[in-house]
Homo-oligomer: 405 residues x 2
């Protein structure tokens, strides 16, 4: 090899024999644009009696030999035997991992116990989907574990409370809290299926049913007037039977999930920042965080819905009687309609600033222009917020007096 060859400028190269040096250099600046589409498919199924041993639904994906089942400890204490019997009678070897799932333990160590269980069992990553049974916290933890174990294994969601049925189980988000922030670690990772069985709601306490109703009312007010009419007419039935009637409750769940699917499916990865499902989630996150653990998520959402309805009324978009219908419905299902956080204009303004930052610099505030129809606002002022906070306090006072009278 010659000295010329050693410094790489050999003229004997068969590859660029007569290209001037400058062009050779340019020739090295090659770029590849890689473009691909990841297809995401999953089924959301409204089912009856998922753990009836005659019901094959839960096992329609994967093999029929083994499953890892991750279950919320409270759900396990109520339904554990029935669930174990289901797998036993269907000849499935089910390994059950019971987790105490609550917001305070929604952390990486808990997700890692699921990873360890997957590894210990040596699950087949194609044919043995993880089955997660519980509320939103458990589904988020288990989904996150499924998403990172071996770069992703299939999992199935079985939500057991109303909030998880109409909200957490529709989308593809997973996550755990860390560094004192919610869902600071997580993924967008679709289950292969979610099975919505309202039988679990029979044992959900009233406050947590109301919590789920907060999200349903949100969706109804911002995009589905017929859903609003339905829950407005039958809230008593829904709450008293705990969604166990066979006509109204399935229809409420169907319309709620339908609405969520319509909004989430075209925007699974949240690239579109104008989201009507963010209704009720503009001021509430900071109020909820400040008030923890006093307010449940759906309670904070409900308060935000009512406050936002007042903002819409101030702009002449809602009739006052609509605002009152929303408030009265909330009261009937047991949702709070007032809270100091929604009288604290400084807090509300900070909340909107934070929300605006999350929405890439614009308020993108969904407000109803009628029950069931949305519009986005980017110019809400502090003055409007102050007046609405005053009106909300006044309204609540009036309502309280009316009840007392």
């Amino acid at each position: 090899m010659t000295g010329d060859a050693m410094d790489g400028h050999t003229t004997a190269s068969p590859y660029t024999p007569s290209v001037p040096p400058l062009l050779r250099q340019l020739g090295t600046a090659h770029t590849w644009d890689v473009a691909a589409e990841l297809p995401v498919r999953y089924a959301i199924k409204q089912v009856e009696d998922l753990f009836d041993p005659d019901n094959p639904a839960l096992l329609e994906y994967g093999n029929t030999a083994r499953r890892l089942v991750v279950i919320d400890s409270r759900v396990a204490s109520l339904y554990g035997e029935r669930i174990a019997r289901y797998f036993r009678l269907r000849h499935i070897k089910a390994e059950v991992l019971t987790l105490e799932a609550s917001e305070s333990v929604k952390d990486f160590p808990h997700a890692f116990t699921v990873v360890e269980a997957l590894e210990a069992m040596g699950v087949n990553r194609r044919s043995e989907p993880l089955i997660a049974i519980g509320g939103g916290v458990l589904l988020d933890i288990a989904g996150f574990a499924a998403s990172i174990y071996r770069r992703g294994v299939p999992y199935v969601r079985v939500p057991t409370n109303l909030m998880a049925i109409v909200d957490a189980s529709v989308g593809v988000k997973t996550g755990v809290n860390c560094l004192t922030r919610r869902n600071r670690m997580g993924s967008y990772y679709a289950p292969i299926a979610a099975y919505l069985d309202r039988a679990f709601l029979a044992t959900v306490d009233t406050r947590h049913l109301a919590n789920g109703m907060g999200e349903i009312i949100k969706l109804a007010v911002i995009k589905d007037a017929s859903l609003f009419d339905l829950i407005d007419a039958h809230s008593g039935l829904l709450m008293a039977t705990r969604f166990q009637d066979s006509i109204v409750a399935p229809e409420v769940i169907r319309l709620s999930v339908q609405g969520m699917v319509e909004e989430l499916a075209p925007n699974l990865w949240e690239t579109e920042l104008e989201r009507v499902v963010d209704f009720g989630h503009s001021f509430s996150p900071m109020v909820e965080m400040t008030a923890l653990p006093e307010l449940l998520h759906g309670e904070a959402v409900g308060l935000d819905v009512l406050y936002s309805c007042i903002l819409a009324w101030q702009r002449g978009w809602l009739e006052w009687c609509d605002v009152e219908r929303v408030q009265q419905l909330m009261r009937r299902v047991g949702l709070p309609t007032h809270h100091p956080g929604f009288a604290d204009v400084d807090l509300l303004e900070r909340a909107l600033t934070d929300t605006t930052r999350h929405r890439d610099g614009l308020q993108r505030l969904p407000l109803p222009v009628a029950i069931g129809r949305a519009r986005f606002v980017n110019d809400l002022t502090r003055d409007e917020m102050t007046r609405a906070a005053g009106r909300m306090a006044e309204m609540t006072g009036a309502a309280t007096m009316a009840v007392a009278a």
Copy 2:
């Protein structure tokens, strides 16, 4: 509310007024099939002098204010000042996190230090992409952290050794080791860009250059005869100049990345199990694991390539002179051409069994039918493996004697 209404069978429901009970029940079994496509786009750019302060390439995505830079400690000791100067002169506030990145610390705690740094800096999740600078281990750790922090923030890959340039930076895999297994936690998560600057190779030691050559030879033998001819003709130049010549080295990198992009881009999530890039990765994983830390990854791959070429020769698909060309090229770049693992037929058979399991029950073994052309085999026998192991030992012996003579 009547008793009828309470048990949910009110005939006054306006929603299903005249539907017989059976149909009502069926009506509750609603299914939604959610289908979406996640668009994945990223650029792989072959660049010169990435850290020349006049080169804006690295900052073409995102804002021009701040960056979190995660860098391998060995790279930092060699290039840290130059990199700091780059950001300083371009008026970027760069927070630098230095990680000692090696296979033994490729774990979740290290990924979490990156998560903590992202949170501490409060990076804007749209406009401040994480910049990862290092070898495959560092890029895998930082990429995993970027993929899970707030369900994914953008990141940029700057590979600093040959293996990372031609292999790790082309695809979308991230990961950390856990539970004594490689990459047991990880994700498929594309960077927004990868910048391939061979200037870093000037300080890579010969053995690690050869390690990268293992992957390049693999790709050349299985799918690119012109790349094989190029490295065969210029291996001396490439190794002696450490890829610093301005003609052959850029072309070798260009062809290698081109080949990898052609194979990986249509199969980013590895749904297709017949992958020519798995050439050299059928027997080597178990040999590599058994031999750790004796063999580097590219060394094990090279041995597998040679062994597989002998298998192909036995089937009459390669000329013996082709096998010898491969062997001699490996020797010239400093790759081992024999190892006890490839004489241990029991080990090789276990390795193939494990590989077959990973490929969902079929061997799907890519073998060359000529230099540069592949075919998949599902019927390799133990007898063939035994004969090839013998031939490899014999060949090595013969070659050793020839050198000695």
